[in-house]
Symmetry: C3
Subunit: 267 residues, 3 copies
């Protein structure tokens, strides 16, 4: 198998931006296999990009993983971070941090300054094409990450505050991490934390959203309840999600990313 | 040429779901060529998914063809169906049935139960990643379809009722199968059925939509009429379609999928 | 490296149209590497397609480059145009013209009439699948462009009028070429033309939009100004763009493609 390069960006698909990255990679690393992780990260939404990256990368063979979501394009230093046998390349704005953490934490990090790796002239607004892509390609063809620039202390990398989850007083509190295409709201609450309270599949959950209070079944899947019904389940990332079967839970409940949610077993 | 795997889903492109499937496939079948058939099937729209699959697969080399559109994710048994030298993998909910039929009908079918093929732990809500993708990949690397589980009678597979088309009394009646990006409405009426009534390119067609009655030219292409004009033509799948040149026929005529349409020659 | 084929269309991603093209190519040229340049060109928008193609192709290795955006599908003759070591395949409606020009101009051109290259039967409404894709694939596997049909005079190819830019009386006038996902408006004014007026990064620009007059900083990137502020910068294609940091300049200023813009230095 050729080396693997993945791309996550907020470039959208209406332009040729993604294709330009593919072209730069193909020119420099013709044997590389490129997987598009996602290009529809909402513009500049670093947290959403970080969540998608961290939840998807475990299913992709180790390689060089580009993240390009940066509302301050050109202002953040580009970095390459080694973690779990992978190399992550992108801006030092926290975008890579959850995936790095999921990979066991950074074992080394480098600031990318060696412009012999870059596509010239470098556009200040398109590091994905001119910096990250050629760097990733050349890392796949024998160049060393240590050639990119000075080593930096991984502890000094920008790290996004992880969505919190707290078990106390017989309940677990967290927040909405993301809302997917179907309106399913993924919480920062791991299935294990909920189970530690004695909740089992088939139970009725008490759900507190600020001052609102609801109860809903905790089931294996959203399809275990009737269409239109609310349900909690363990999603494909191992986190608790709230859904409406054949419906849009985020819209129904008014739950944007960041909203606080508390779950407890029925007494 | 490496083996071919195709993916049709309703996962959308805003998340990393599709990439996770690609990653699983790449890990298990690094030589496979993966073609994305479509990931924007409307959520849970099994009929639309079935139509896209059946109309696209004939243009793709034989391989393993995944379909993952299932409003009852986790509730439908996963199956592998052999037809026309291809293997179709997906839920037994009819999604695969029109493509199987277009391939000459199922020659064998298996329920997928052998969990040594699966990505563990299997998420009840993501069989595309944990069941269909690893199964498809391993079928490409030498595993036999008969290893997946017990053989089942192809006649007992769930089959979607095909859109009907009926020639009688000098007219042909059918329904809207799908509406594409341009608003072109594809009917369930094959060009051959219309031609059997004596209609030829260049004629004026009489079109009955419930109680409404219209006439429009039957031409080679929508571009054969002036911008804004209605036209019927034989589309790229060999079916009659109604379009507005540079316009949206579905919107103009209020024709959703399933709407009844009757065509007859001008007396 | 295998031969390279690229695809730019207005087919959208809701259907299997793009996959059918990939399938045809894979069947005929299994070694080819296919890059999707863009499939969300607005329906029939030849100018937008031409701009994306011309700005993206320079970053992609030389190959066969398909363009399929044609409001008069089936009415325009298909052509193959050689330029800069590449072959462009598509309708003779100007779609290819800016990319051809960016590649140094056409060195040869052929009308595509040899139907032994085509997928049969040829649908009048889907030349991308039945004509351009099989032609491109076979050009990658040893067939000669001269086999496609009669040579034609490149000077007789349809050419889109390029967006104009005129330096006079101490100002430079141009038009909006395109608006990207972020609402950044790309002008037809090259950075060099602006710099020829003495404007330097860090200056304040005077911007005339019809009767409206604004001033805004000319900076390295949109991120050099505060969120919500207007800014002009040299974009990743070397053209002047007007943006709002973290905002939508096209919407704020009401600037559609084609709108006239005049820039001058602050006196």
């Amino acid at each position: 198998m050729g080396p693997v390069i993945t791309l996550l960006t907020d470039y959208g698909l209406e332009d040729g931006y993604v294709a330009a990255c593919h072209g730069v990679i193909l020119r420099l690393a013709p044997e590389a296999r490129v997987i598009d992780v996602c290009h529809l990260v909402p513009s500049g939404d670093v947290r959403r990009g970080a969540a998608i990256l961290a939840q998807t990368i475990p299913y992709i063979p180790a390689g060089v993983h580009i993240g390009a979501v940066d509302p301050a394009a050109g202002a953040r230093r580009p970095v390459a971070v080694e973690a779990g046998g992978r190399v992550f390349v992108g801006p030092d704005n926290g975008l890579l941090s959850w995936a790095v953490q999921a990979g066991g934490g950074a074992t080394a990090a480098y600031e990318i300054v060696n412009d012999e790796f870059f596509v010239q002239p470098v556009s200040p607004t398109f590091p994905g094409r001119d910096v990250y892509s050629p760097v990733a390609a050349q890392l796949c063809t024998g160049r060393k990450v240590s050639e990119l620039g000075p080593e930096i202390d991984p502890a000094r990398l920008v790290s996004l505050p992880a969505p919190t989850s707290l078990v106390r007083d017989g309940s677990v509190e967290g927040e909405v991490v993301s809302v997917d295409r179907y309106g399913n709201t993924q919480l920062s609450i791991a299935a294990g934390d909920l189970h530690s309270l004695g909740v089992r599949v088939g139970d009725i959950l008490q759900v507190h959203l600020g001052r609102r209070h609801l109860s809903m079944p905790y089931r294996e899947s959203y399809s275990a309840v009737a269409p239109g019904e609310l349900v909690a389940f363990t999603d494909s990332a191992g986190l608790i999600a709230i859904a409406v079967n054949n419906g849009d839970a985020a819209q129904r409940l008014g739950l944007p990313p960041g909203a606080r949610v508390r779950l407890r077993p029925t007494a």
